[in-house]
């Protein structure tokens, strides 16, 4: 047996509305937007201070911020911080401290684990220094290694939440922290590494010349995807990430939550998430075919097959943003009908909002984000600002309890049985 707080502190929160809707929602979105823009300007904007959005280098950090925030809140349940500290400290302070920890972990993972451990002792393309040592231009060495490192995070941000969202942390639900966190971290890290080796490592077979035929498999997707680029996998993995998060924020884990046995629920949920991801991927590819005509083998930019796949992932992220805004800031309405009807209505709101967001993004991103006016540009990814905004919303909700629009007044003190069900 374990308490809900110790199993998933976020779910035990009792939240009180401090401001009425729609003002609360608007203030929440504005708050996140301001934090996002400050971070974008300091770290990413080509007109800003550090100018890391080159683009892969900055994008890498953003991807890792996302996976680390998932580790902090979902996998480790805020360990090593005590839940008492989380409960008794002002949300602004908890937000600042946990964000600082997030950034520190991201830096340690990238600079310590990838650049100076894995990149040196296993796969050279993970280390800028190693690639530069081979005679590569520093800029492209950094971009190549950044792409590889960010793909680890992209795959992990798809696979890590599955344990919590689909399996409800089973079979490790009764472990305390940090045992449970370390276990889930190790299992999902192992799966992510395996997935990376199959989905992204072959990309590096053809990235270098001569081709690395003894070190990596030839891209197995080349014949049916009409590209050698790993962007094929980037696209559907991103749809997978969005799929798992939409299951969490829009579907409220329905219909898999109806399955009582958590392992069975997890397996069925995982398959369901995969199928929903493929559905998103195929549909977004088709929408692009309708808009711009079919992709052409070997073409660049808007007609390139690999860019189309990547853009499907970008479109999925653009769909997740309104889904999260609806959940975090507008109470995930509507809620008064049956679950299927509520979800259907939410999906209509999300799809319409996605179309509006898509138009707004391409209309205003050059002036606001310092990007270029174009759908397809080899040096920019809407996923980067999109995911940074998602990270900020997660900070706001998970680290700051949606202050100032809401206030956490306490936590439900309930116990869970061995099957993860609340004991009434």
């Amino acid at each position: 047996m374990i308490s809900l707080k110790n199993e998933m502190w976020l779910e035990s929160r009792i939240m009180e509305n401090k401001i009425a809707q729609p003002l609360r929602g608007i203030i929440g979105v504005l708050f996140s937007s301001i934090i996002f823009y400050i971070l974008w300007w300091i770290f990413m904007d080509p007109r800003g201070i550090l100018k890391w959005y080159t683009p892969q280098y900055g994008y890498m950090y953003i991807r890792w911020i996302l996976i680390v925030v998932i580790w902090q809140a979902y996998v480790f349940n805020f360990w090593p911080f005590s839940l008492k500290w989380r409960e008794n400290t002002h949300p602004v302070i908890t937000g600042a401290v946990l964000m600082f920890v997030n950034f520190a972990v991201v830096g340690a993972v990238i600079w310590g684990f990838f650049y100076h451990f894995l990149g040196i002792y296993s796969i050279p393309y993970l280390s800028v220094d190693k690639l530069v040592g081979k005679g590569m231009t520093e800029f492209f060495a950094r971009e190549y290694s950044s792409l590889a490192i960010l793909m680890f995070a992209a795959i992990a941000s798809w696979l890590s939440p599955i344990v919590t969202v689909c399996f409800a942390n089973h079979p490790w639900q009764n472990l305390k922290q940090p045992e449970r966190g370390i276990t889930i971290f190790c299992v999902t890290a192992l799966l992510s590494i395996l997935a990376f080796l199959c989905l992204m490592h072959p990309h590096y077979h053809v990235l270098f010349w001569p081709w690395q035929e003894y070190a990596a498999a030839y891209p197995w997707w080349a014949n049916f995807a009409h590209t050698l680029s790993g962007n094929f996998n980037v696209g559907w993995v991103m749809c997978g990430t969005v799929s798992i998060w939409m299951l969490e924020v829009t579907f409220d884990r329905y219909p898999y939550i109806l399955i009582k046995n958590k392992i069975r629920r997890g397996v069925v949920g995982f398959i369901g998430v995969l199928l929903f991801a493929i559905l998103l991927f195929v549909t977004f590819n088709f929408i692009q075919d309708l808009a711009w005509g079919p992709a052409i083998d070997g073409a660049k930019r808007i007609l390139a097959p690999d860019w189309r796949y990547q853009h499907s992932g970008e479109l999925a992220i653009m769909m997740l943003i309104p889904a999260m805004i609806l959940n975090f800031y507008f109470d995930n309405g509507p809620k008064k009908y049956s679950a299927p009807v509520n979800i259907a209505l939410r999906m209509i709101i999300i799809i319409v909002s996605t179309m509006v967001f898509h138009w707004l993004y391409y209309k205003f991103s050059p002036s606001i984000l310092g990007t270029q006016a174009a759908y397809s540009h080899p040096q920019q990814f809407p996923m980067a600002p999109g995911i940074l905004f998602i990270c900020v919303m997660l900070f706001h909700n998970w680290f700051m309890d949606l202050w100032p629009g809401k206030k956490r007044t306490g936590n439900r003190d309930v116990m869970l049985d061995d099957d993860g069900e609340e004991i009434l």
Partner: protein, 361 residues
């Protein structure tokens, strides 16, 4: 909330069937055939010319690859405005008098069916000292002074294709200029005589001749047998839009001549195929193909090399931003790459270099 096994299975069957039909529908050829119109067949007649000769005035855009990439990195990456990047113009060992800037420019001699001739200068390079020397070597400076060159076609606004415009205007300030849609205000200001000290860029000879901006999405005739096509391509260093030239050479077929071809050579060939009469027969290509300009790579470029043979191009001239690595891979793929002579600071013979010529027809 609980659910019976039967209820769950019914839901699973319903959801699975709906999902399958949605996926199968979205990806089916039936649906694509219904909603996606068939590709247009080119019907725009640009006329016919007798021959086209292209002289590579300069294809060496910069002398030290790492330096130019470092300049962009130091300025904040590939999205930074090219007019505010402090490009290295001194102390570069391999540079021209220490300046890393070179430039791209090509002279196109067009012979019409009636025997008359037209000259097109495609792009005007970057470093004016270097371009002055290149123009002198190929006699372009005298042609400009004698008003023998009919038009300056600027493929796009990039530093290495446009910043050397002073070298043209000092010899012929009233030359007609054609630019693609997308030029920024700074570009038009440079033509008028503005300077950009951060980028070590100036033009002391304001343009006084006609200036035409060509819209994308259609074929613009230039001379009999010659036209331009513009694209809305977004390009690094905050540049937008590019145009390429297409010629119809009698008894040979169509020839595509590019500056940098950021839109992608296959996109350009497809546009020709779908817009220009006779577009199903691409005889030749010449110019920068913008594949690995910094000798960087992306598997997408292999897609291009694998797809290009299906277009049946008989003569493949290329240089500049095509990249030596690409040329090497193209030759291995059996593509008819025309080799150069590696003179006047072009580094390898893998493709056409400075001072080399290619003739179509």
């Amino acid at each position: 909330m609980g659910v019976s096994r039967r209820g769950f299975l019914k839901g699973l069957a319903l959801g699975g069937t709906t999902g399958y039909l949605a996926m199968a529908g979205a990806s089916s050829t039936v649906l694509k055939d219904v909603f996606i119109p068939p590709a247009a067949v080119g019907d725009f007649d640009i006329g016919t010319c007798k021959s086209v000769k292209c002289t590579v005035v300069s294809e060496t855009s910069w002398f030290n690859n790492k330096r130019v990439v470092q300049d962009m990195k130091d300025a904040g990456g590939l999205l930074v405005n090219q007019y505010i990047i402090p490009w290295s113009n001194t102390g570069v060992k391999e540079g021209y008098n220490g300046n890393n800037a070179g430039g791209y420019s090509a002279l196109i001699d067009l012979e019409l069916l009636d025997g008359s001739k037209k000259k097109i200068l495609l792009d005007c390079g970057w470093n004016t000292e270097w371009m002055d020397e290149c123009f002198k070597r190929e006699g372009v400076d005298k042609m400009l002074k004698n008003k023998e060159i009919d038009v300056l076609v600027l493929s796009h606004e990039h530093f290495d294709h446009f910043f050397g415009v002073e070298s043209v205007l000092k010899n012929c300030p009233d030359i007609p200029i054609i630019v693609p849609k997308g030029f920024y205000k700074e570009g038009f200001d440079l033509l008028k005589g503005a300077s950009f000290p951060v980028a070590h860029l100036k033009n002391d000879y304001p343009h006084t001749g006609p200036l035409e901006v060509r819209e994308s999405g259609k074929v613009h005739p230039l001379f009999p047998g010659c036209a331009t096509i513009s694209f809305d391509s977004a390009i690094i260093c905050r540049v937008l839009g590019e145009q390429g030239l297409v010629f119809n050479v009698k008894d040979k077929g169509l020839v595509a001549i590019t500056g940098c071809c950021h839109m992608g050579i296959i996109s350009f060939l497809e546009e020709i195929k779908h817009r220009v009469k006779g577009g199903d027969k691409i005889y030749g290509i010449q110019g920068g193909l913008h594949i690995s300009p910094f000798e960087d790579w992306d598997p997408q470029y292999d897609d291009l090399i694998q797809a290009l043979p299906s277009y049946g191009v008989e003569v493949l001239g290329c240089n500049h931003c095509t990249g030596y690595l690409t040329a090497e891979k193209m030759i291995l793929a059996g593509l008819p790459v025309v080799q150069g002579t590696a003179r006047f600071r072009s580094k390898k013979k893998l493709f056409l270099g400075n001072g080399d010529q290619i003739v179509f027809g």
